[in-house]
C-alpha cells in the first residue's frame, strides 16, 4: 500500500471516530442513552474545560504522571540491575531465578493491601505498589536477554580480551536491549494501571482519586473527563516509548 493510500485510510478511520463521537452526542441529546451514565461528549468536554480552568485537573494529572514516572523509573533501575546480575551469573540463574519465575503470575495489585498496611494511605505506598508491580516484567525480560547471549559473542569477547565490565556494557547490555525494551513497555502499561489502583485505594490526589470521587458524587461527566485524560496519558507515553525503541533498536531493521 502506498503512503497516499495509507493516509487516506487514516483519515477515513479518524472520520469514523469523529462520527462515532458525534453519534454518541446525538444519542445523548435524544436521551436514548441514560444521561446519568453516558453524559455525552459536550458535557464531558465542559467538565474537562472546567477542570483545566480551575487548575485541579492539571494538578491531578501532574500528580499521577509524577507517581507513574517515579515508580516506573524505580522499577526499571532495580529490574534491569537485578536482571543483569541474575542473567550473567550462572549461580544466580540456578538458585534465584526460579523464585522470580514463580512470582511472575502473582497479580501485582494484590500487593496493594499489604503495602497499605505497612505504609498507610501515603504517596510512598503508591510508589511502592507501582515499583513492585512494574518490576517483574523488567526483571524477567532482562534476565532472559542477558542469559541468551550467543556463545559466539562470548568467544569474541574472550579473544579480544574484554574485561568483565566491558563485556557487560559493550556486549551483554546492548544485546539484551530488545528484551529490555519489551519489559519497559510492559512495565509502563502496568505502572499506569497501578497508579490508578493506588490512587483509588488511598484517595491521595491524582486522576485515580479524582474519578473515584466523581463516581461517589454520581458526576459522570467528571469521570469521563478523567478517563479521557488517562487514555491520552496511555497513548502518549506509549508513543514516546515506541519512538525511543525505534531509535535504540534502529540496527534491527530487518
Amino acid at each position: 500500500m502506498t503512503l497516499f493510500h495509507r493516509s487516506l485510510w487514516f483519515l477515513a478511520s479518524l472520520a469514523l471516530l469523529v462520527g462515532l463521537i458525534w453519534g454518541w452526542q446525538i444519542l445523548a441529546d435524544a436521551r436514548v442513552l441514560p444521561r446519568a451514565f453516558f453524559p455525552g461528549p459536550d458535557l464531558t468536554w465542559r467538565a474537562l474545560k472546567r477542570g483545566v480552568a480551575n487548575g485541579s485537573l492539571l494538578s491531578d494529572t501532574l500528580t499521577t504522571l509524577r507517581r507513574m514516572a517515579l515508580g516506573w523509573a524505580l522499577a526499571s533501575l532495580i529490574g534491569v540491575a537485578l536482571g543483569a546480575f541474575v542473567g550473567t551469573s550462572a549461580w544466580a540463574r540456578v538458585w534465584i531465578a526460579p523464585m522470580f519465575e514463580a512470582l511472575r503470575p502473582l497479580p501485582a495489585s494484590a500487593i496493594a493491601p499489604v503495602a497499605m498496611l505497612f505504609l498507610g494511605l501515603t504517596d510512598t505506598m503508591i510508589l511502592t505498589l507501582i515499583a513492585f508491580g512494574a518490576l517483574w516484567p523488567m526483571l524477567l525480560t532482562t534476565v532472559h536477554g542477558f542469559s541468551n547471549i550467543h556463545i559466539r559473542r562470548r568467544e569474541v569477547a574472550t579473544s579480544l580480551g574484554l574485561s568483565r565490565s566491558a563485556f557487560i556494557t559493550k556486549i551483554a547490555l546492548p544485546g539484551a536491549l530488545p528484551d529490555i525494551m519489551g519489559g519497559l513497555r510492559l512495565g509502563l502499561t502496568i505502572a499506569l494501571i497501578l497508579v490508578v489502583v493506588g490512587e483509588m485505594v488511598t484517595v491521595q490526589g491524582g486522576l485515580g482519586a479524582r474519578i473515584l470521587l466523581a463516581a461517589r458524587a454520581f458526576n459522570a461527566p467528571e469521570i469521563f473527563a478523567g478517563i479521557a485524560v488517562l487514555g491520552v496519558i496511555g497513548l502518549l507515553t506509549n508513543a514516546v516509548l515506541s519512538l525511543v525503541e525505534t531509535y535504540a533498536l534502529r540496527w534491527q531493521r530487518r
Binding site: 469514523l16 540456578v94 523464585m99 503470575p105 505497612f118 489502583v197 485505594v201 473515584l212 478517563i227
Partner: protein, 250 residues
C-alpha cells in the same frame, strides 16, 4: 535437581522469617510469622466463606474472560479477513487499547452497581484488546499461504474459515487465551481491591484494614498460588494440545 535448588531460597527465607519472628517475640498488627500464616491458610481452606470468595473471583474472571476472548477473537478474525474493517477502525481501536482498564471501573460502577456484572465487564474490556491484536496477527500470517489453496478448492467463505483459517490459527489462539487468562485473574483481583466488595481481592483488603496480617498473608499466598497454578495448567494444556507449538515457543 535444578527444580529443588530453586526451592532452597524461598524455603530459606521462610525459615529466617520464622526464626526472626520467634526470637523477637513479635507482636504486630502488620507482620505475621509463617506458622501463623499457615494456620490461617488451613483455617481458610477448611471454611466455606474462603471458598465462596475464591469461587466469586474465578467465576467473575472466567465469565469476563469468556466474553472478552469471544469478542476479541471474533473481531480479530474479522479484521484479518476483511482488511478495510481493520483499517477504518484503526484509530478508534488504537485510542481505546492503551486505556487502563481499571479507569473505567467508576463508570461501570454507575451502570452496573457492585457485583458480578461490574467485574465481568471490566475483565472483558481488559482481555478483549490483547486477544484482538494477537488473533489478527495470527490470522494474517496464516492466511496468504492457504487462501490460494482454498480458492483453488473452490471453498465457500464459511468453509474457508472453519476448514482452513481456524485449524491453522488454533495454536496461536490458545496462546492468546493463555495470556488473556493471566490478565483476567489480575484484573478481577484488581477490581475487587479497588471497588467491588466480592471475591479474594476484597477479602485481602478486609484482612488488611481490620489488621489481621495472618489472614492477609494467607490470602496473598493463596492468590499467588492460584496465579501460578493457572499459568502452569494453561502451559501444560498447551503442550498437550499443541506439542509442536510449545516446543518452538518456550
Amino acid at each position: 535437581m535444578t527444580a529443588l535448588k530453586g526451592l532452597v531460597l524461598p524455603i530459606g527465607l521462610l525459615i529466617v522469617w520464622q526464626i526472626a519472628a520467634m526470637a523477637t517475640g513479635m507482636q504486630s498488627d502488620t507482620l505475621a510469622a509463617p506458622d501463623g500464616i499457615l494456620v490461617a491458610l488451613v483455617n481458610g481452606l477448611t471454611s466455606a466463606p474462603f471458598w465462596v470468595d475464591t469461587g466469586d473471583t474465578l467465576a467473575a474472571g472466567g465469565m469476563g474472560l469468556a466474553l472478552g476472548f469471544s469478542v476479541g477473537a471474533g473481531a480479530g478474525i474479522l479484521f484479518a479477513l476483511v482488511p478495510p474493517v481493520s483499517r477504518i477502525l484503526r484509530v478508534t481501536v488504537e485510542l481505546l487499547r492503551p486505556l487502563p482498564s481499571i479507569a473505567i471501573v467508576p463508570i461501570a460502577l454507575l451502570i452496573f452497581g457492585f457485583g458480578y456484572q461490574l467485574e465481568v465487564a471490566i475483565v472483558a474490556f481488559a482481555t478483549c484488546f490483547p486477544v484482538l491484536v494477537l488473533t489478527e496477527s495470527a490470522v494474517r500470517q496464516v492466511e496468504p499461504r492457504l487462501s490460494e489453496v482454498a480458492r483453488a478448492l473452490g471453498l465457500t467463505a464459511w468453509a474457508r474459515i472453519t476448514k482452513i483459517v481456524l485449524p491453522a490459527v488454533l495454536p496461536r489462539l490458545f496462546v492468546a487465551l493463555r495470556l488473556a487468562a493471566g490478565i483476567a485473574l489480575i484484573v478481577a483481583i484488581t477490581v475487587e481491591i479497588a471497588a467491588n466488595p466480592i471475591g479474594l481481592g476484597s477479602r485481602l483488603l478486609r484482612a488488611a484494614s481490620s489488621l489481621r496480617p495472618e489472614d492477609m498473608f494467607a490470602t496473598l499466598f493463596w492468590i499467588a498460588f492460584l496465579g501460578w497454578a493457572l499459568n502452569w495448567g494453561m502451559l501444560r494444556l498447551q503442550s498437550w494440545l499443541f506439542p509442536a507449538m510449545s516446543r518452538s515457543e518456550r
